[in-house]
Symmetry: C2
Subunit: 215 residues, 2 copies
Amino acid sequence: MTETRATNITWHEGHVQRTDRERLLAQQGATLWFTGLSGSGKSTLAFTLEHALIERGRLAYVLDGDNIRHGLNRNLGFSAADREENIRRIGEVAKLFADTGVIALTSFISPYRKDRDQVRQIHREAGLPFIEILVDVPIAVCETRDPKGLYKKARAALAEGRGIGFTGIDDPYEAPLAPELVIHNDSGTPQQAATQLIEYLEAQGLLPATRGRSG
Amino acid sequence: MTETRATNITWHEGHVQRTDRERLLAQQGATLWFTGLSGSGKSTLAFTLEHALIERGRLAYVLDGDNIRHGLNRNLGFSAADREENIRRIGEVAKLFADTGVIALTSFISPYRKDRDQVRQIHREAGLPFIEILVDVPIAVCETRDPKGLYKKARAALAEGRGIGFTGIDDPYEAPLAPELVIHNDSGTPQQAATQLIEYLEAQGLLPATRGRSG
């Protein structure tokens, strides 16, 4: 890298490195990929963790249905091909976030092992941490919770002979074989689960000691 | 927003706000959209600016052909529909970056006014700054520079009667009618152009006073 000076600014030639951004943020970029059934509590967990990270002075951002399905992936439906493309794009965006030094938290059912493994692969190739988190809740519990009434709809459709490909009902959920972390999210609070996640990140050296507000 | 305490961490309920991330970063998220002919110097300018911003302690990230065409948009070609989708996706990703508090710098020819205006529109709807920067260089100058030999290829194809839809040769470049900034990039250095950009951002209140290293 060479340096030149123009006016009062120091100029560097050559690209900024990921490590330059990570030094600036005092953190390492990573993707935390939450996967699990509808109603397992992925989003609540992701947003709870995002809060805890920001509170600790860490830059985190949740990618979820709200900001993806109405934006980047608004032109995708629920066919097999579109579901695969949905996860592929989310994986690529999470990778860009991690490369920026951000902790990307993704909250999608992402039922197919192959699709998640592909996202893991592109992170590995880029030397970026990919943490797959199985939010594990028995489907009977998810179906009892059914916060958006989606299971009820899926059962009704199925009863009428119209399968809608709902994960866990008439479409498979392929649980990760070797996730970095399993959260048994059928008991306890989101805060307890988030604490487990933070302890994991600290143990992995992905999260430095708390900084920021002491109050 | 309510607060609960578990272990030694303060927990907040409800989503993190954009302003929380911006406070953490001590900067405002924004998209700086560079548009101009091939060879106009968009990427050099974007990377020069990225360096200057990081040097000032600001988090910035360049989205360009290298990290988009080989990743998120690897399944797009150069048909009219694919070009439109290319810009649409980049616009959506830039918006997510800006929402995270990052200064997103995009470096793409993005020749069609309608596509750029659509990106402006989604930023406006989200209340995010969108700065369109025309990197203005006469096509004759771009063609003389021709750093990647692309104009030469386009001319050769055209001479053989095979149009390839190359911007400025056999496909239109629709210059912005009201860009936030015009960089006349056929003279001067990238550093001078980047200085002009930084002065603009400061004048707009998008860039606070310099912090970080004094050396």
